[in-house]
Every structure is written in C-alpha cells, then in structure tokens.
Symmetry: C2
Subunit: 339 residues, 2 copies
Amino acid sequence: MSKVSLTKISEILGMSKSTVSKALNNYADVSPGTRKKVQDLANELNYKPNIFAQNLRSQESKIIGLLMPEIVHYFFSTIISGVAETAEKYGYSVIVAQTKDDYKNEIKQLELLLDKNVDGILLSLADDTIHFNHVKDVINQGVPFVLFDRTSKLIDCNKVVIDDVKAAQMATQHLIDIGCKKIAIIRNQLKSQGTIDRHKGFKKALLENGMVYDKSIDFEGRDFSFSAGKIAGNKICESHKDVDGIFALTDLMAIGALEALKEHNVAVPDQVSVIGFSNWFLTQITTPHLSTVDQPGFEIGKAAFNLLYQEIQNKKNNVKEASKTIVIPTTVISRDSTK
Amino acid sequence: MSKVSLTKISEILGMSKSTVSKALNNYADVSPGTRKKVQDLANELNYKPNIFAQNLRSQESKIIGLLMPEIVHYFFSTIISGVAETAEKYGYSVIVAQTKDDYKNEIKQLELLLDKNVDGILLSLADDTIHFNHVKDVINQGVPFVLFDRTSKLIDCNKVVIDDVKAAQMATQHLIDIGCKKIAIIRNQLKSQGTIDRHKGFKKALLENGMVYDKSIDFEGRDFSFSAGKIAGNKICESHKDVDGIFALTDLMAIGALEALKEHNVAVPDQVSVIGFSNWFLTQITTPHLSTVDQPGFEIGKAAFNLLYQEIQNKKNNVKEASKTIVIPTTVISRDSTK
DNA sequence: GTGAAAGCGCTAACAT
DNA sequence: ATGTTAGCGCTTTCAC
C-alpha cells in the first residue's frame, strides 16, 4: 500500500512527526513555510495517512452497517442506494448485509457488524423477529442505532418509517374517489405491523366514506407474492363479480391479481380498478401500468443515515437526545389500472 | 464500546499482555491452566479484541469493496447478495458503492474505497469508461482486484464473466429449434462488449443454421429500456409481419416488445416467439412468462469473491499468479413466450 | 513555531 | 511456559 508514512516525511524533512502531522492537518501553530514544504512533499510522494492508525487513535471507522431482510429486493435496494449516497457525503462507507428474514441470522449479522467496529448500525427487522434483546444489547452498548421500515414499538430508538395506516387509507380513498363502490383487499396474514396498519387504513377509508367493510372480500394470502395475488384475483373473478376495486397490500399481489383479471377477461380499469403498494419498478411495465402507493426507499435510506449521523455526533459530544421517529410521506401514484 | 482490553485482563490476572494474547489466540506455548484462566475471565468480562488495533498490526481490514454501475438493479443486486454471502464465510464484510455508470464517479468511488483500506476490490466497469488508468493504478498498487461482468480486454487482471457470444447463440438457437424462420433482434448500440458479443452470437447462430442475417430486422434502440423494446416491437408489427421470433438483448427490451405485440393483437408465442436476456425477476410475472437467458448474478458474485480471496492469500504469501478469467455458464430458460 | 514523548490495543520476536 | 520489548502509524498534550 502507501509506503510513505508520517515518520518518513518527517525524516526526509528533518522535522518531528508532530510538526508534520500538524502541517498536514492544517493546525494554526505551524509556520506557513513549514506547512508548504510538508504539504508539497506529501503531494509529491503521494502520501496517504494510514487509516488503520487513524482509526486506532480516534476509535472510529467511518463505516456504518446496513442490515436488512433482503438485498435482492427492489425496495431495499433503493434503501441501500439512499444510504450509500448520503453516507458518502459525510465521508462514511456502508457495509451491507442481509438477514434473509431470519431471526437467528439477524443476531449473527448484528454481531458481525459489531465485530467490524462500525460507527453505527441501520436495521430493518426480520419478519420473524419477536424478541429484541439482541437489538437492545446493541443499543445499550452505546452503538448509534436506527431502525427503519420494519420497526417495533418495543424498541426505544430512533426510527424512520412511513405511515402505513395513512398510506393505505389514501390508496383506498383513491379507489373511492374514482367511483369504486365495492372494494376488495388482498393481503397477507395480519402479522407484521405494516400489514396490520395497512389493513387498518383500508377499513378507515371505507368507514369515513360511509361504506361497509365486507369480510367476504377481504382476501388473506399465505404470503405477499405474485401467486397469492393471483389466487385472490381468481376468487374475485369467480365469486365476487360485483367487486369494482381492488387494493392489494403489495405490488406483487396487485400484479398477480391483474393477471387473474386478464385471464378472466375482466377489463382493467373499466370493470375493476386495481391499486398496489410500494411503487416497485415493475409497476411501470405491467399492462396496464399499475397505480400504486410510492414508498420512497431512497428517502427513507437518506433520512435513516442522517438520523444515525446525528446520533454519532451526539455520542462524540456526549449529548443525549430522546428518540425520535421520522415519518416519510407517501403519495398515491395514479396510473392506468385505476380510473 | 468494549472497555475490556488485553492490558486490563493481564493486570487483573497479574500476567503479561503477551501471555494473555497467546492464551486467547490458542498458541501452543501456553499452559492449559493459564489458558483456561485467561479464557474464562475473557468470557466473563465479555472481552472483544479491538479491531482497530488488530487492523493496525496486521494491516488488513477484512473488508472488501464492491463497486458497480447501479445498486437499484436486479442483476447487480443478486451480485451483491452472492458476494456478501460468500465473503461472510471467510470473515469478510462488503462495502457497497455505485458509479451510476459514470466514469468520473468510478474514479472517485475507487479512491474512496482505497481510502478505507479495503483488502481488495471488485469492480464492474461503468458504461462510459474507456480509459483505464484509474483501474491500472489500483492494480499496480498491489491491491487485490477482480473485474466482473463489465470488463475490458485492456486490463490485465482476474475476471469473472459470462460468455455473451455463446449465451446469445443459445438463445437464438432456441428460437430456431422451436421453428422460427425469421428472427429479429432488438438491441442497443454496439458499444459495450456485452452488446457486441451478444450480437455476434445471434449472427453466428443464424449462420450455423443456414439462415440469413437480415439487417432490416436488426433494431437498434437508443438504450436497453422497456420503451426502446416497445418501439422496436411496434416497428416489427407494422412493417415486418413475417417475423416469427424476437431475440431481445435485455429482458426489459423483451418485455417492451411483448407489450407492443399485445397492443397489435399479435399472439405470443403462437405467432411470434420472444426471448429476453438476464432472467430478471420480472420475467416470471409477465404475461406470458418470458423465456430468457439466465445470467446468474449470485454465482458471478460468488466466483468473483473467491477469486479475490485467492488473490488476497497470494499477496500475503508473496506468490504471483497469472491472471485468469472465469466464465460462468448461462442457460436458456424456456417459458411461455417461446414455443 | 517546533519537538519530545506518550499512548491508542494489539502481536510477535526474542529473551529467560 | 512466561515475560520483555518493540513497533504498527498516527495524534495530541506539554514543554521549550
């Protein structure tokens, strides 16, 4: 690597290491002449400070850890992108890791990140994480820590989320606004907070518009996949011909429903309007293009890093702040599947 | 962080730091009794070695850098996943960064990675990178370095690629095998090596089957997007009704073409068969499901890390090896858009 | 304005 | 089997 050390420069110049260090770091108490001499030589020799030594002194790495359920996942990849780009502005790099939605793995990955002495951690909880001691341990160790997207009320820390209730309510309201009278919902089991909240928002919208929530057109899939959506779509086509609007809790489910409707020759949006959730890339290339709720991953990632950065600063300055939760706004994106 | 240092343990136990260090690292020349005493106390105090100190001593970080054109990109995200999972097995973590397909940014990101003293770098070249001094500099500095997917013959280093010629040839052969007589190709400009090679493979397949390459049904889009594919698809429907097979160099283009065919009421695969390239997730949820060429990102990432790891070992042991190029096999995936 | 010296926490060559 | 010592490369008092 860079063989030129501070010591080497100091020897060549016949000065002490400390003077060289100060000159390089633009300290005030170095004469302009000395400073110039040092900096010129440093440039000439292409001097790069040894980060390992700096890290040891400062006890910080300028690296943060980003841990989430899946890497191969449109939404989470937009988060990586948002975190990485924001981190870069502050001189931080990002180690990326995934839990594969597995609790045990989450514990392990968290451990690995700590072992690398990251300056802070960003985490989106695994689906099956219901105990939080591993997370609380990290926080109690004083490691700057922010939860994003999949969070838990049982953990006291900074968080970045969207308002699922409101987002789902707006999506449903959109269907109502364009004239839907009989709206079905396609969802997965009411387990994760996100699903629960979206379901809540759906019912809230119906209620506020004087519509009844009809349990028979509330479809629960075994997951939130394309095929779960298709199965529900098929049921709608076969047994609930009066349905004129579908709210699917994920884009994948919505696209599955779209396919079922197509196969039953039900026109979208003329007979049935469909709206999804997340604004994945693929919603722009379905036929018809899918209306959805934009869940801005890049913004969430950006906000999460900023919050973490604030925590890192606070830690350095020994200030304690109460935990906050930042809510990133979502918007309904109206495309060709609703009208 | 962990306040328990080696020194602290040695003081408590009244031994020297070196003995404690040896005991902890299971050196042979420590008495079993001592070893146990040390390890027990270390466990009790939850001792974690300070990585910064270890890094400084060993001059290695056990972190590698992964730099690629885009993070929000199905194929590249599978690569991240493959790299991260493989790296973990060897105790390495992965810093992820993107160039946004910009040459200047590639230089900058490479610099940032070096500044973090990563033990090695994995790079997939930006589209508009035509000078390679920044890359050669890294290699000449002795930093373990592997190029993957988007590589260049002008750089001498280890590489992981697919055989684009062969893959395209197989895709075309698949169309021929199912009876296509008039095959159009949809591509972007013949700039990147990947595009050039796929184009070559296409023509090779035609030639080997005694078919003529017809320039009038070789469609060049301005990029490799959905809309570029759709534009080409429209032209085919309007002016080349005898086309019965389409090979699109990317899945996105293929899906665009699919949409055009649909709008012109051309039946797929009955009238026209369509095959894409890459096996992005979304090919599984189009109607009809898209046949494609699997470009296994996870495997590529895995191979790239393994190669890099080998280089890291070689560097430690002062052995030099000639550069190799690993070719990851691709397969044609036949779905509903070809028959 | 400059330099000497200590120390961050660890490992390893070299005694003993 | 254990301890001494030096050193990785940097920053930061503190003295001059």
